[in-house]
């Protein structure tokens, strides 16, 4: 979310002062009730029984396993989507080919498909009763109810984030810089690392942040393929649900507070990027 300051309008075309205060007040109350208070509640509940209980519930084997798994999944999904995002936006921005707009639409698919459906697709593909199930079983490869499935589902859900940031920026920048580098004698690889990548670095970082936040927080798709095996296939969001269903509220909120903290850090970094490199990022925030 971003607040864009506009130049002050002329007094005679502006709404009366009362209307302005009313609108502003409504917005603030709404944000407070819907966002700030719930977020506060997470931390309050997490620390309800004191710091030691908080720490203890985070340090159980299952919680640590969940944290580790979440980090692992993000560590695979985010780089994978950086590579994919760069490849996709490079081909879309620098080449002309048929079906280009279709490809752009396709990249947006995970935004419009419910994550549950995404999870089910993978069960249908790789599950015991799925298309590839017999083959995978014969070769003792487990994807569903195992880490590979969780990684796949996470990649599916998060793959638009990097590409969506890069495509508009690369399109706006064109290929002049690359052509200049090549004409000056740089190799293709050198051109990519010395010219292309620095040109999009802030948008890329921005995309990585959003991608990472989603990868760590994803629930729906991961829930379908994970199988909820404690200590094995539980990510942090799934672990929160299990703890909550067991009425272990303090532990549930403790793990949730970690996720909330991650969200706050992401938000902070994102705002810092926007503040510092707003101009470069403005191009990519067309959606």
């Amino acid at each position: 979310m971003q607040f864009i300051s506009t130049s002050p309008r002329l007094a005679n075309v502006s709404e009366p002062l009362t209307v302005r205060f009313l609108l502003l007040g409504l917005t603030l109350v709404y944000l407070l009730a819907m966002l700030v208070l719930p977020l506060g509640v997470i931390f309050v509940e997490a620390f309800r029984k004191g710091y030691e209980t908080y720490a203890a519930s985070l340090l159980t084997d299952d919680s640590i396993a969940a944290i580790q798994l979440t980090l692992l999944v993000a560590a695979i999904a985010v780089p994978a989507n950086v590579v994919f995002g760069l490849a996709a936006s490079w081909s879309i921005a620098k080449y002309d080919f048929k079906g280009k707009s279709f490809l752009i639409t396709l990249i947006d698919l995970p935004f419009s498909v419910s994550p549950v459906v995404a999870g089910l697709i993978y069960v249908l593909m790789f599950g015991a009763q799925g298309y590839l199930g017999p083959y995978l079983q014969a070769h003792h490869i487990q994807i569903i109810f195992a880490v590979p499935g969780i990684v796949l589902a996470t990649i599916f859900v998060t793959f638009p984030f990097v590409a969506r940031q890069l495509i508009p920026l690369m399109q706006a920048q064109g290929s002049d810089d690359e052509e200049a580098a090549l004409s000056l004698g740089a190799s293709g690889l050198r051109t990519f690392f010395s010219v292309t990548l620095p040109n999009v670095r802030w948008a890329l970082l921005y995309g990585v942040l959003l991608c990472n936040a989603r990868a760590m927080g994803e629930f729906g798709a991961v829930s379908i393929v994970s199988g909820h095996i404690r200590g094995k296939t539980n990510t942090m969001p799934l672990h929160v649900e299990i703890l909550y269903n067991e009425y272990n509220f303090v532990a549930a909120f403790a793990v949730a507070s970690l996720l909330a903290f991650l969200a706050l850090v992401t938000l902070g970094l994102k705002s810092a990027l926007e503040w510092r490199y707003g101009g470069e990022l403005a191009v990519s925030r067309g959606h």
Partner: protein
């Protein structure tokens, strides 16, 4: 000043280049030769293929057919790197995250280790180039901190740093305001003289082409209409298109009869290649009219619309009977002093020269 190793400038031979974008023929059989050390302008309206031609010579987007030779070496299949062409982009294409200095040094630093000069030499050379383009002291700036004219100079210094075989500039002054354009024009001429490089530049501004270039290539629809020195293309345009494109002409319909045609009150011989009889078009430049003071009304009657007494000659707008739009003529200052040429007065004019082509 020695900014490039003074190897002999190269000759470029372009033969029958063809390239199309879908059904559109961007280059439709282009052949010409650029003499060593020449400053050549590629002039034409947008869509005429001039930029496509420049990019084909640079190797940025190869042509589909035809050959390009640098001296006697076939460059057609050489890669961008192998051609070693200094290319200056219309919008500069400076690397925005690098300082001016790093931009200029880029081409030297990316060389393979064996050919790369020592860092101290790179520094020295980049400094020298900065001085050469009159930007000494700005090496730590970023492109965003420079004016358009300064950016263009950096782009040129960067292109010169690789000691190019030839220099190609795509609309080098296209993005600059009028005053800076004028300054940079003179400066580019100096740069060309001092580097001695074979240089091609693309422009759609006929004044720029005629003022700067040794020779001008005028393009239209992917073909060359005419190649010649500025005075050749101006004085002896080969086609009606060249006449109109170089600007500032009045066009008259006329009839060619027995190898002669009457244009604006005068009879002119018509070249045989345009046929001895038939409809024709004639072009007359403003200074090729004279005002006939003679009371007996020789020449074409015309009503004076406005008189603009600026510059060495006076520009007079006239309305002719039966003709849409006024014509512009240039007359010596003395004539105005006589008081005949004033708005609403009727004068008689006559063409002293005309270029006549068969119509169609």
């Amino acid at each position: 000043m020695d900014v490039t190793e003074k190897s002999a400038p190269i000759r470029i031979d372009v033969k029958d280049l063809r390239k199309s974008f879908g059904a559109f023929a961007a280059l439709d059989g282009v052949s010409f030769t650029v003499q060593p050390g020449e400053l050549l302008a590629l002039l034409g309206p947008s869509g005429s293929g001039k930029t496509t031609l420049l990019r084909a010579i640079a190797g940025l987007s190869p042509a589909e057919q035809g050959t390009i030779h640098f001296n006697d070496e076939d460059a057609t299949t050489l890669s961008l790197r192998e051609r070693r062409v200094g290319f200056v982009f219309q919008h500069y294409a400076l690397f925005r995250h690098m300082t001016v200095f790093d931009n200029i040094a880029f081409g030297l630093r990316v060389r393979p280790r064996r050919e790369r000069p020592a860092e101290s030499e790179i520094t020295q050379r980049a400094r020298r180039l900065l001085e050469f383009v009159q930007l000494g002291g700005l090496e730590k700036r970023f492109p965003a901190q420079l004016s358009g004219g300064q950016r263009q100079r950096v782009a040129l210094a960067r292109a010169l740093a690789i000691e190019p075989n030839l220099l190609l500039l795509d609309e080098p002054f296209g993005a600059l305001d009028a005053k800076v354009r004028k300054e940079l024009r003179a400066w580019l001429k100096d740069v060309h003289r001092e580097t001695g490089l074979t240089t091609l530049f693309v422009t759609h501004d006929q004044e720029e082409a005629l003022e700067l270039a040794d020779r001008v290539v005028i393009m239209r629809n992917g073909r060359i209409e005419q190649i010649g020195t500025p005075s050749e293309v101006y004085e002896e345009p080969a086609t009606p298109f060249v006449c109109e494109f170089l600007g500032n002409v009045s066009k008259f319909d006329c009839t060619i009869r027995d190898g002669e045609a009457e244009v604006a009150g005068s009879l002119f011989p018509v070249g045989e290649e345009n046929g001895l009889n038939g409809p024709g078009v004639a072009y007359v430049r403003p200074h090729e009219f004279e005002i006939v003071i003679d009371e007996h009304g020789e020449g074409l009657p015309a009503t004076v619309k406005s008189v603009r007494p600026f510059g060495p000659t006076v520009s007079v707008e006239l309305v002719l009977a039966g003709r849409d739009g006024p014509i512009e003529i240039a007359v010596p200052r003395e004539l105005i002093g006589l008081g005949d040429v004033q708005p609403h007065r009727v004068v008689h004019i006559r063409a002293t020269a005309a270029r006549i082509f068969a119509a169609g």
